[in-house]
Structures are given as C-alpha cells and as structure tokens.
C-alpha cells in the first residue's frame, strides 16, 4: 500500500542532484461523514468520535465537523469490520456504522488499487480528494512544471560555485 516513487518517473529528465529527493506515494481510503439535522441543516462544528472495528469502548480518532457538517478520516485498513462514527452537538447525536473492507496493495504502475469499500458511495467529491484528483490535464501540467522548475532552481542554487 505504500510505495516510494522517485520524481523522475514523471518522465522529464532531471539533473542529478547532490541532495536526493524522494516523495512518498501512498494510497489510502478516506471516509467522509456528512452530519445533518432532519431539516437539512448541517451539524456545524459538531464533535466527532471515531471507533475502530472491534473496539467500541476506545476512541480511535476525534475531531469536529466543518462548516458543512462534514468530517473525513482514513480508517486503518488492517482493522476491517464495522467502524463507528458518533457525531454529537448540543444534546443531539447519532452513530453511523461503516463497514470497512480490505484494500489491496496499490499496483506498481500507479493505477488505482482494488477496493472493497462496503460503504455507500456518493458522487460528490471528497473535500480532501478534490484538490488532488480533480485536476485538469492543464492544471496537472502546470503543477508538475512548477515542481520541476523549483527543483531545477534548487539544483542550480547548490551547484553554483563559491565566488
């Protein structure tokens, strides 16, 4: 599930740098919880308690919902089973049970891993995902170019001789 990926895989010829740089690349599953009142009003800044499968007595992670009543977390894939998310605010609360399956190791070629999510999947983009996965080809190109330009600049900075 975790793999190290040299930046050179992007396909551009990069200068060999004295200061090696490696970016870790990791596939994870993210669960987004949407908490709303019956009226449709989001539960803003509500307390969120996450309980891992098989351990309902101990809080695995806690946090608060955002201004749209959303909360995202990444369950530990080594703990498959029914995870529970409790959301509470001002005397109101509810628990969602989320079956979490296993996730296979990401293929070496970087394609999408197989998943057995077991949760209802919506078409709305995950707020954590959208900035990354919804980039257009032009945006990706600009982003990658910016990184490369930064690396070249860094390399040239260290490659300059003492004057």
């Amino acid at each position: 599930m975790t793999g190290a990926l040299a930046l050179g895989m992007v396909g551009w010829g990069l200068p060999v740098l004295a200061h090696g740089l490696t970016l870790d690349h990791r596939w994870v599953n993210s669960v987004e919880v949407q908490a709303t009142f019956e009226t449709g009003e989001p539960m803003v800044q509500a307390q969120v308690l996450v309980y891992a499968a098989g351990n309902p007595s101990e809080v695995w992670q806690q946090g608060t919902t955002d201004d749209q009543g959303r909360f995202s977390f990444v369950p530990d894939a080594t703990l498959p089973g029914n995870w529970e998310v409790m959301v509470r605010q001002a005397g109101h609360g509810a628990i969602a049970t989320i079956p979490v399956g296993t996730v296979s190791t990401a293929p070496a070629n970087g394609s999408k891993p197989d998943m057995t999510p077991g949760v209802e999947v919506g078409s709305a983009p995950n707020s954590l995902i959208s900035p990354i996965t919804n980039l257009s080809p032009v945006q990706r190109g600009i982003t990658i170019g910016s990184v490369i330009w930064g690396l070249i600049g860094t390399g040239l900075f260290f490659a300059r001789g003492k004057r």
């Binding site: 949407q34 999947v121 919506g122």
Partner: protein
C-alpha cells in the same frame, strides 16, 4: 418544534487519496456496495453472561429544574413514567431507528411487567434511576425498546406520564400537575453520550439508559428563541392559561379541550420525541401510527 432525529450521519464517499504526489490519480468513485441487512434472529440468552442494568433518566432538566422558552422557572417534585416491555437487544448490523427497518435481535433480554419510576428522584448528582437488573448474555446491547402504558397503581395510576411541580415567573408561582395518558412505544439504537453503554462482558456489569428529553415539551430558555428546541416546543404559557384558582391541573382530555388547536397539535407532536437513548434518537411506533 425540535425534531431531534438527525436525518443522517452517513458515509457518503470513499475515495482514493494520493498523498505526497502532486499529479492526479483520477477521480473515479468505486461502485456502491449495499450493506448486508440480513440478520439471524435469536432471542434466547445463551452462554456466559453478566448483569445488564436498565436505567431511566430525565436528565438535569428534571432533577435540577430549568427555564422554559417563555421564561418560567420549572421545578419538578415528581415525574413518573410508566414503562413496559422494556427490551434490550444485541443487533448486527446495528439497528438504526431512522432507517425505517425492524429491529432484528441476535439476542435480547426483557423486563417483565410494568415499571413506574420517578425521574425527579434524587439530587443533581444522582445516578439515573435504576429500573431493572437482568442477567444477560455477554455482547453488545446496542438497541433498546420500551412502551409507555398507563400505570396500574400508585399516584400515576391511569397515566403514562405524570408531572408535578411548580412554575415561577415574575414572582408568581403556579403549582402544576400534568397527566398524560397517550400510549407511546419507542424503538432505539445504540446509546449516544459521553460514555459507551451496553457493552457487556462475561461476569461484569453494563447498563443501558432510556432517556427522556422534557425540554422538547417546554423549550429551553438558555437556547436562542430561534433554536429548533424552542420553535417546536409548547412552552408553559399555554398551560398557565388553563390554570384554575392559581393551579394548573390538567390531563390529556383537558389539554385537548383547553389548548388551541395549534397548541394541542404541537403537544401531540412532541410526545413521540420525548424518548431517547442518551442523545440518540428513537423511533416512536405507537402514537405516530394512529
């Protein structure tokens, strides 16, 4: 009215997230997977077990008093509730009272007979009122159901809910007795609160709690007027209007006869929202089915 049932706390998306790499990896969503709703129902306790304590809790509103949405200081002397067919159940998948499905128990234990308890008993630091102790199989009791039926004896005889206390506003104090005879039945999921409840291991004790939110009836002066806890509440003014000789003493028939049609409708609509498990919501299946 404060409709306290949350429409949903649902997982709506499971996606892939690439950390540390700036190039996108596609935004496709995996195919939906419907949860398995089949459950084998066994109702006989078996195996090693422990002790399950069923409690009833009127919360601080009842034990300490509170200010209504219309400014009355309420102090309760007694709040009797008459509970019957109390059933604690282990469910898997966990029962969700807002899903519209039937509670299917893998194991369950029941309290025999009708129990009448006074939710106002004890001071602010008192434990929620114990209703029954049951020998129960070990496991997770993540569902609780009970009916509210007219008490067959005692001061609350003939009523499901019997409240007595005083209401004070602008130096005027009004004794009140409110007697409700509508029957109710609540089916609830897991307890929601500061602690997890109902997790019973062999040889040990766990508890479950039937919780009653009387602020839904009177409103909460500590909350904004526009808060749904107040916009949906009856308050005390309409009850004060029914006072005779400086005393409010009403039953359900008197409320129907004396309240405006809108206020009586509000009163009836609040009753199904009284029952909770901590902060967790219940489905009311008796009054709402009439």
């Amino acid at each position: 009215m404060q409709h306290i049932s949350l429409k949903a706390v649902t997982a709506i998306a499971l996606g892939t997230l690439s950390l540390g790499m700036l190039s996108g990896c596609g935004g496709e969503s995996p195919a939906p997977t419907a949860p398995d709703t089949s459950a084998e129902t066994t109702v006989t306790p078996s195996g090693e077990g422990g002790t399950l304590i069923i409690r009833a809790n009127g919360e601080d509103f009842v034990r300490e008093g509170f200010t209504t949405k219309d400014g009355w200081e309420i102090e309760f002397d007694n709040v009797f509730v008459s509970l019957a067919d109390i059933t604690a159940a282990q469910t898997d998948p966990p029962f969700d009272p807002e899903a519209g499905t039937e509670l299917q128990a893998k194991a369950e234990v029941k309290v025999k007979g009708t129990q009448v308890v006074d939710l106002a008993e004890g001071d602010a630091s008192a434990e929620p009122i114990p209703v029954a102790e049951l020998e129960a199989p070990a496991g997770r009791f993540n569902a609780l159901a009970w009916r509210m039926v007219p008490a067959d004896s005692g001061p609350a005889e003939g009523y499901t809910i019997w409240m007595q206390g005083t209401a004070t506003k602008d130096s005027e104090t009004v004794p009140f007795t409110i007697k409700v005879n509508e029957e109710l039945a609540f089916t609830c999921g897991d307890f929601v609160g500061d602690d997890r409840k109902g997790i019973l291991t062999a040889g040990n004790t766990a508890d479950l709690e039937a919780t009653f939110h009387f602020d839904h009836l009177f409103g909460d002066g500590g909350a904004p007027a526009a808060d749904s806890i107040n916009t949906g509440a009856l308050g005390f003014d309409p009850l004060f209007a029914l006072a005779k000789g400086g005393v409010v003493d009403v039953d359900s028939a008197a409320l129907q006869a004396g309240l405006s049609e809108a206020d009586y409708t509000t009163f009836l609509s609040i009753l199904p929202s009284l029952g909770h498990v901590g902060e967790g919501h219940c489905e009311e299946v008796q009054l709402t089915s009439l």
